[in-house]
Amino acid sequence: ACGGSGESAPKDVSADTAALGTIEPGVLKVAVQPYAPYTSVEDGKIVGLDGDILSYVADQLGLEIQPEVTDFAGMLAGVQSGRVDITIGGVAWSEDRQKEGLFTDPPYYSPPVMAVKGDKTYQTVDDLEGLQLGTVEGYVWVESIQAVPGAELHAYPDANGVFDDLAAGRLDVGFLDPLLVTAAQAERPELEISTLYMTPPTAEQVAAEPAYEYFQPYQTGFYLPPEATELEKAVSEQIDAMYENGEMEKLVEKWGGDPEQFLTPTDAFATARAGVDRPDDWTPPTIAARG
């Protein structure tokens, strides 16, 4: 637990802020895994796309962020054991996962992205047939790639392996979280890697080959313990507001994402959560209305 000024126990906290029911009034304890450019910690401050979004939300709610750097298992257990108030960082919503806690409204939608070397272009799933395709072991894309006819799967322990082999020409396409590719390109320009957004497979394609499901965007969320209903509501409201006031678009752009890709949901998102952890008439936040 670095940073924060958590030592001075009784603080000037407004009644509204106190009502959020954080572990320590006025303080938002956040578990993060180092996963730049989504989440990272610098000088005791949380940074990255998820980090900036949450920082903005915390400001609005009068909360002070106190980050805890851990790994993925530690993030989950931190929330579940009440060590932290919330965890962030590209956590995808799924029906199974939401049984173990609360998910906020999606701060963004993660579109499927392809890392390629130089100026190669691919757009649809059909373009991938017969190629050398890479991803990280354990990612959902492993299954999807295996379903592509004639393609050969290369699974790496982490994204660095994908980048290295793309640069070396042993891979045609790498499937990774989108901002990772952008950031890697910024950090290591010598690799000459660029980002391509994929045109998601159609409903018919997914029906024919269910593993293609993961080539569609997924919705992320901030994850909280089941009791933290007040806090979840407040954070979700702020997220929705950020779609409205353009703040979200600003941040996605700041971190190298395409707002169009990141902030417009498909119809499937509403049906997935409506009636599960959202009201039946829930509509996912979007910037499309503004545009």
């Binding site: 298992a73 354990g138 322990p157």
Partner: protein, 267 residues
């Protein structure tokens, strides 16, 4: 939080079984490698050639003073970036091998030097030759001395396969993490994975203790030694069967019968 056991373990059974087998495979291969490499390093450290000793000492010190996590990482990614691409299994097993070889070499070295100098001398005086002395006199005794330490490291190695999660080795801990990410039930998964490790390690350590006791008791472990002991027992039957007839069998060539008589009366 809801009830403790909610993960649908049955769904993961076949993956867990695979992961468990892979854990065992990593353990077996790496341990065999570490024993061989450790022995080589120990012999180098005991050799008369100073360069050999220095190389072995540097090896041992480096690997003993760096976290295994870092070694695993560097073997997999580091070697790859200089053009040596090992697959996950090779890299994982190699990391464990080189790391534990450093520790084992220390155990072996002290076991070998722990064999009394008089033993080598007795071997020399019997004309056993260098290989005879090493193979038949020093090694079997060093084995006895080295077993406890070696066994500790075997169990330790088994547990350390959990660090291969860094390179997604698909062993138990990696599988645990996959289940965690699917179900979000980290705590439950950790408890179950710990229990599986315990179920692997505890019987293993008990078997090794048992083996240690056998070896210490001098029980013949090789078939040829068992055969020799059987033949010897047959030949000595008359002497051992009843102590009285034994000493009688030795005739007047044994020491004075008075002495033997006293011994037997006391026994």
């Amino acid at each position: 939080m809801s009830g403790l056991f909610e993960v649908p373990w049955a769904d993961y059974q076949s993956e867990l079984t695979d992961a468990l087998l892979r854990t065992v495979l990593y353990t077996v291969v790496s341990f065999a490698g570490a024993v061989v490499l450790g022995l080589v390093v120990a012999l180098l450290r005991l050799s008369r050639a100073r360069p050999a000793r220095v190389v072995a000492a540097v090896y041992t010190e480096v690997f003993k003073n760096v976290p295994l996590l870092a070694i695993i990482f560097l073997t997999y990614f580091g070697l790859a970036s200089v053009g040596i691409r090992l697959d996950v299994f090779m890299a994982g097993a190699l990391s464990l091998t080189v790391f534990y070889a450093a520790y084992l070499s220390e155990t072996f070295r002290s076991a070998i030097s722990g064999v009394h100098a008089g033993q080598t001398e007795a071997g020399e005086a019997l004309g056993l030759g260098r290989t005879g002395i090493f193979g038949q006199v020093v090694m079997p005794q060093a084995l006895r001395l080295a077993l406890p330490g070696t066994n500790t490291f075997l169990v330790d190695l088994l547990k350390s396969t959990s660090l291969l999660v860094t390179i997604s080795a698909a062993e138990l801990m990696s599988e645990g993490r996959l289940i965690t990410s699917a179900t979000f039930r980290a705590l439950e998964v950790y408890i179950v994975i710990s229990a599986i490790y315990f179920a692997l390690c505890y019987p293993l350590s008990q078997v090794l203790l048992w083996l240690e006791r056998k070896v210490r008791a001098g029980v013949p472990l090789t078939p040829w030694r068992r055969r020799r002991m059987r033949a010897a027992r047959a030949l000595l039957a008359a002497d051992i069967g009843s102590a009285g007839s034994g000493s009688a069998g030795s005739g007047s060539s044994g020491p004075g019968s008075t002495d033997l008589g006293l011994k037997e009366a006391a026994a």
